[in-house]
């Protein structure tokens, strides 16, 4: 019993980070119907920022979110301006975004490989390898901090969406773009800001994963699949869904990893993605996409 609880604790302590990693992608899809396959590449970019801040400035990787969040926010605005602003009224917008963002992820991967080579990297603060004990259970200290920071950021995001004027406008745009325009929301501006916010969340995720996992330029391929599994399980575009999906799947992955060996852990995500798409494509909290 203790053993199973311990496994689930391990899974859940990664769940918060997965939730943060997927929140940006689901937010962007919810508001703009952009399937951002470059989201994980943004996370890798931010992980490199955290890495160099750690190596060159000795900056704590958790603290480096004060750099990665604003830098990636601005990067998101730029990407939106250059790639999506003119396409938004295109009737095949969703399909186009899949191709464009896939291309973008490869460009980012290529540039990162060119500048930083394919060497495996990670930041190594003290807490990355320590553990915390709570009674009979233990937490890897790094995972614990990362999940706490992730939850704080997600609560912040929730409060922003729930209580601010910007949050009202983002939710309104997500739920009904036409109605949002009718009441005077500048949906183009809101889309751009939301893309920036989603990218900023990728930025924060990059800082946190920099000490949880080793990474290299092509790592985004694995992460984007995991993120897709999480948000498809929760329901594309549903923030609460991506949160629940993250905790469920990461606990399941930890369980599978313990019983069948760590090689099977990533397969849990891929298999889950496959099964969800087969049996419940709208996910747990998503709405059935209307055929147009």
């Amino acid at each position: 019993m203790t053993q199973i609880s311990q496994i689930i604790i391990l899974g859940l302590s990664l769940g918060g980070v997965f939730a943060l990693m997927s929140s940006g992608m689901t937010l962007i899809f919810g508001v703009m119907r952009i399937v951002n396959l470059a989201h994980a590449a943004f996370i890798v970019m931010a992980a490199y920022i955290a890495y160099w801040a750690f190596k060159l400035l000795g900056m704590d990787p958790i603290l480096s979110i004060v750099i990665t969040i604003p830098v990636m926010y601005l990067f998101g605005l730029l990407v939106y301006r250059v790639l999506f602003a003119k396409l938004i009224d295109n009737p095949r917008f969703v399909e186009l975004t899949v191709l464009i963002t896939f291309g973008l992820s490869l460009v980012i991967e290529g540039l990162l490989s060119y500048f930083f080579t394919g060497i495996y990297r990670s930041t190594t603060p003290r807490y990355a390898t320590d553990t915390l004990n709570f009674g009979p259970f233990y937490f890897p200290e790094g995972q614990f901090y990362a999940t706490v920071v992730s939850i704080i950021l997600l609560v912040g995001l929730w409060a922003l969406l729930r209580y601010t004027r910007l949050g009202y406008a983002i939710r309104a745009t997500t739920q009904n773009r036409t109605a949002a325009k009718t009441v005077g929301v500048n949906v183009h501006q809101i889309s751009m800001i939301t893309f920036g916010l989603g990218t900023a969340l990728a930025g924060a995720s990059g800082s946190l994963v920099s000490f949880l996992f080793t990474f290299f330029p092509a790592k985004h391929m694995e992460w984007v699949t995991i993120i897709l599994a999480l948000i498809v399980l929760g329901g594309m575009g549903s923030l609460i869904g991506s949160l629940v999906g993250s905790f469920l799947l990461s606990a399941l992955a930890a369980y599978v990893s313990f019983n069948f060996g760590p090689t099977w852990s990533p397969i849990t995500f891929y298999l889950a993605l496959f099964l969800i798409l087969l049996f419940r494509p709208q996910g747990l909290f998503g709405k059935k996409m209307e055929l147009q």
């Binding site: 004027r165 406008a169 109605a179």
Partner: protein, 239 residues
Amino acid sequence: MVILETEDIVAGYGSGPDILKGISLQVEAGKTYCIIGPNGAGKSTYLKVISGLLPSRKGRITFKGADLTGWRTDQILRKGICLVPSDRSLFPDMTVRENLRMGGYVLSDQKQIDQRIAEVCEIFPILGERHAQQAKTLSGGQQQQLAIGRALVLRPELIMLDEPSLGLAPKISKQIFDSIEILKRAGMTVIIVEQNARMGLEAADWGVVLDLGKNSFIAEAQKVLQDERIQELYLGKKH
């Protein structure tokens, strides 16, 4: 007094053909206008152009003496023109109250918005009773009241209703038209686009017939109702 004037409005979607091919109309303050016409005549498109949701390709829109041509929707809303779109266009997962708050999105004073919401709930008491419910859980008639209520938060001088009775049972449509009566009594200028031409015209002072993107006919609503040709084309002749 003329409050709204559109001159020779030409408009269409994307790179598609012109839907409106030169609509000119003068709207008197405090009067109610009902626009009728066959499907595809451009009735909804015309309202979209006035509210700034669709740019006009040619022509001029003046409201209270100001040239609104090329203005953004939020500017037009602040100036006092509100549209209630035909599909009711609510925010389904937001509560009734949040929907009403979105009606005041272009206002910055939260107190003012709260006060206006209270006023709206006096006109539509059901919205006050159901303020914490999600909009999608309301019935069709209640949703239409919410859509109108949301527009009223701005206390517009001109309110435009696109097919307010669409998809509603006759009894509910009548309730909606009763509430339009309240807007008229409050001195608002009202433009209604209505499939149910008879119902729309009976509520209106003036009737406007649009056909193929042009206004082909304007007269007092009673006269339009009695016009034999109109009866045949749009009203389904009563014998």
